[in-house]
């Protein structure tokens, strides 16, 4: 995905919910932010690798 189309706090939030749920217990906001950045990086860099 092009970085300009990423809306921080909206894009990939469903996947973040899945990740959080899969962790099995409440997590810190810091932990959640790191996972969210990882998801966004995957989205943006995946297209770069594909091209």
């Amino acid at each position: 995905m092009d970085g300009k189309n990423v809306i921080y706090g909206e894009t990939a939030m469903d996947r973040l919910v899945q990740v959080l749920r899969a962790s099995g217990q409440p997590q810190d906001i810091a932990w959640l932010t790191e996972r969210y950045l990882e998801l966004l990086r995957e989205l943006v860099l995946a297209e770069e690798q594909a091209s």
Binding site: K4, R21, E34
Partner: protein
């Protein structure tokens, strides 16, 4: 061989008469088998089954019958489609008399239309345009136009194409058109391919532009996602966390819920019924004080920390209680305490919360000088804070929530949290007391209340105390340096009569004191004439200071033109009898006070000239006499 038909509706059969009869019989049999099928639905039957069926009817050898059937059906290929599967022969027909594999027409399907001719709308773009979430407010969304249509409109260059791809079909057409022109205008023909050849590499350039990995945060900051997560968290950690938290909290679907610094999917949070909440409330009322979540879980729900879902259950309890009106969170990070409606209030009832907030408002106005002697770093590092009790603090069992105290005490866990319940231990007496920390709100200051009993029992105004952290985040200790027992006449507030009045009484204490702050009769005898103003009047700093100066100051004027000389120390002690105040706040009041002027000869000494009073207003001559009597002493 002759052709025959089984009637007006059936198919025509070929082969010998026997074969036609057999084929017709097989067709009739299979039509019966699929009589509820769609007219063109395939009806399948194996040769083995058919042979067994007919062999049983004719009482013949199944192998021979199988050969006959096979021959008969082979002769009618138009009716029976023959397939071999797993070593067996399967015949397929339909009620219409022949089997034709169904062809699905997908030409007009939505997916097909979107993806032809060459995937004009990338899936990523669709995920942006088609969203499952509905915005709370109507917003103007940017319109994303796919690359394909932009290229068609000439807004973007055409993508590069491979030599053996399908795209050259268009180029071939263009070449044909050029060839047509070739016949009439030779120059143009020659130029056209050259231009195309030259432009092609130039057009390739934008298509190879690297993907944009920079995202813009809601606050305008741009971050490059090529950088590692550790780097990004190191540089923008707080911003990213705050923005994510805001996004989570403003999500209309509430997919993730938070409590303090923790987050969990809402769908996974356990619900608590009315009966559960009633049991929690009853338990809190029974114990009579705010309790930690762990104790509630253990004693009310019998949940064990070793259980796998303990942490998620704990989160659910805290989250659900935070949304109930009957419960108030009064805990801190590491000790999540819950209070409920009906619990006895902590702290003095003599001063209302809004009055105390006004009295400590000077801290929020920038007159907090608590860090003059100790830095925040040293307080945090040592985990302790030294403090000299003033009369007001001692009398009402409170401590102003200064920046020094804020460095020691825990901050709020929830953004709308107003109070926290702390426990203060007095290890020298093996006692502990609950205290309530009221956090500052707006221009109202914060304070700790509930220490009236220990202050009166163990300490006096002017006592030097040390407040220290313990291992428990909501438990603190107050210690003091012990000293030989001393008896002195100290200032007290006598509230036994209708009108409260200051007086000196014999008190015994056994703690080290700052003698300048010890409000005894010997040093500050005139303070007994202070008027115990109602609390709502004490917030007026200048008026209080003028009253203190008039009460404690040394008269240097005449009866007609009274004037008082007073030191800053006397003013500080006197003002802190009526209300909490810092030295910086005192200095501010002195600067702002129109009736105060500094004594040029003596440092930290001021003259106070009261407003001239009418003779008729001169009352309480006894009190005036007291001043002069004291002076005479």
């Amino acid at each position: 061989m002759t052709n025959g038909s089984n009637g007006s509706n059936g198919p025509a059969f070929s082969g010998s008469a026997e074969q036609r009869a057999l084929a017709e019989e097989v067709f009739r049999l299979m039509s019966m088998q699929g009589r509820f099928f769609a007219a063109d639905a395939p009806i399948r039957q194996t040769l083995t089954n058919l042979a067994e069926f007919f062999a049983a009817q004719r009482k013949a050898d199944p192998a021979v019958v199988a050969q006959e059937i096979d021959a008969a059906l082979r002769a009618n290929e138009a009716v029976f489609t023959r397939e071999e599967r797993d070593g067996d022969v399967v015949y397929i027909t339909s009620r219409l008399g022949s089997y034709r594999p169904r062809e699905e027409d997908t030409k007009h399907m939505f997916r097909q239309r979107l993806h032809e001719p060459e995937n004009p709308l990338p899936v990523d773009d669709i995920s942006v345009v088609v969203t499952t979430t509905r915005p709370a407010l109507t917003t103007i969304e940017p319109v994303f136009i796919s690359d394909y249509w932009q290229q068609q409109a000439g807004l973007k260059p055409m993508p590069s194409t491979d030599g053996d791809g399908e795209a050259p079909a268009e180029e071939a057409e263009a070449a044909e058109a050029v060839a047509t022109v070739d016949l009439t205008a030779e120059d143009v023909v020659v130029a056209a391919p050259e231009e195309q050849a030259e432009e092609a590499p130039a057009e390739l350039q934008p298509a190879q532009t690297p993907i944009n990995t920079v995202i813009t945060l809601p606050n305008g900051v741009q971050i490059d996602l090529r950088r590692s997560v550790e780097e990004l968290m190191g540089q923008y950690g707080n911003t990213l966390q705050n923005l994510l938290r805001s996004a989570i909290e403003s999500d209309p679907l509430r997919r993730i819920v938070t409590f303090g610094n923790q987050a969990y999917p809402e769908a996974a949070v356990v619900n608590f019924g009315k009966n559960d909440l009633r049991r929690i409330r009853d338990y809190l009322l029974e114990v009579g004080e705010p309790l930690p979540d762990t104790q509630i879980i253990a004693d009310v729900f019998y949940h064990n920390p070793r259980q796998a879902d303990y942490e998620s259950f704990r989160f659910a309890l805290n989250y659900r209680l935070s949304r109930e009106k009957d419960f108030e969170f009064v805990g801190v990070e590491g000790a999540r305490l819950w209070s409920t409606r009906g619990l006895a209030p902590i702290g003095t009832k003599r001063v209302k919360a809004n009055e105390m907030g006004n009295l400590t408002g000077y801290l929020e106005e920038g007159f907090d000088d608590s860090l003059r002697d100790q830095s925040i770093e040293s307080i945090r590092k040592s985990g302790s804070l030294s403090h000299i009790l003033t009369f007001f603090e001692w009398e009402y069992g409170m401590l102003p929530f200064t920046r020094a105290l804020a460095a020691l005490l825990p901050s709020t866990l929830l953004h709308d949290q107003r109070t926290a319940v702390l426990r203060f231990e007095f290890p020298q007496h093996y006692t502990s007391f609950l205290a309530e920390l009221r956090y500052p709100t707006g221009n109202r200051g914060g304070w700790v209340q509930g220490l009236e009993v220990p202050f009166h029992e163990y300490l006096v105004s002017g006592a030097l105390i040390t407040i220290s952290r313990t291992d428990d985040p909501h438990v603190f200790s107050i210690t003091y340096e012990e000293a030989p027992e001393t008896e002195d006449r100290l200032l007290v507030l006598d509230e036994s009569k209708k009108t409260p009045k200051f007086a000196f009484a014999n008190l015994t204490y056994a703690c080290m004191v700052d003698t300048d702050m010890l409000v005894n009769q010997q040093q500050y005898g005139r303070l007994r004439n202070l008027k115990a103003f109602p609390m709502n009047e004490r917030r007026k700093g200048v008026e209080m200071l003028e009253h203190v100066a008039e009460t404690i100051g040394t008269p240097v004027g005449t009866r007609a033109e009274p004037r008082y000389r007073v030191t800053e120390q006397e003013l500080f002690v006197g003002l802190n009898v009526l209300r909490p105040a810092s030295r910086e706040y005192l200095a501010h009041l002195l600067r702002e006070g129109e009736r105060f002027e500094p004594d040029e000869e003596n440092e930290a000494t001021w003259f106070f000239t009261p407003e001239p009073e009418d003779v008729a207003d001169e009352v309480d001559e006894d009190e005036d006499d007291d001043y002069y009597d004291d002076e005479d002493e």
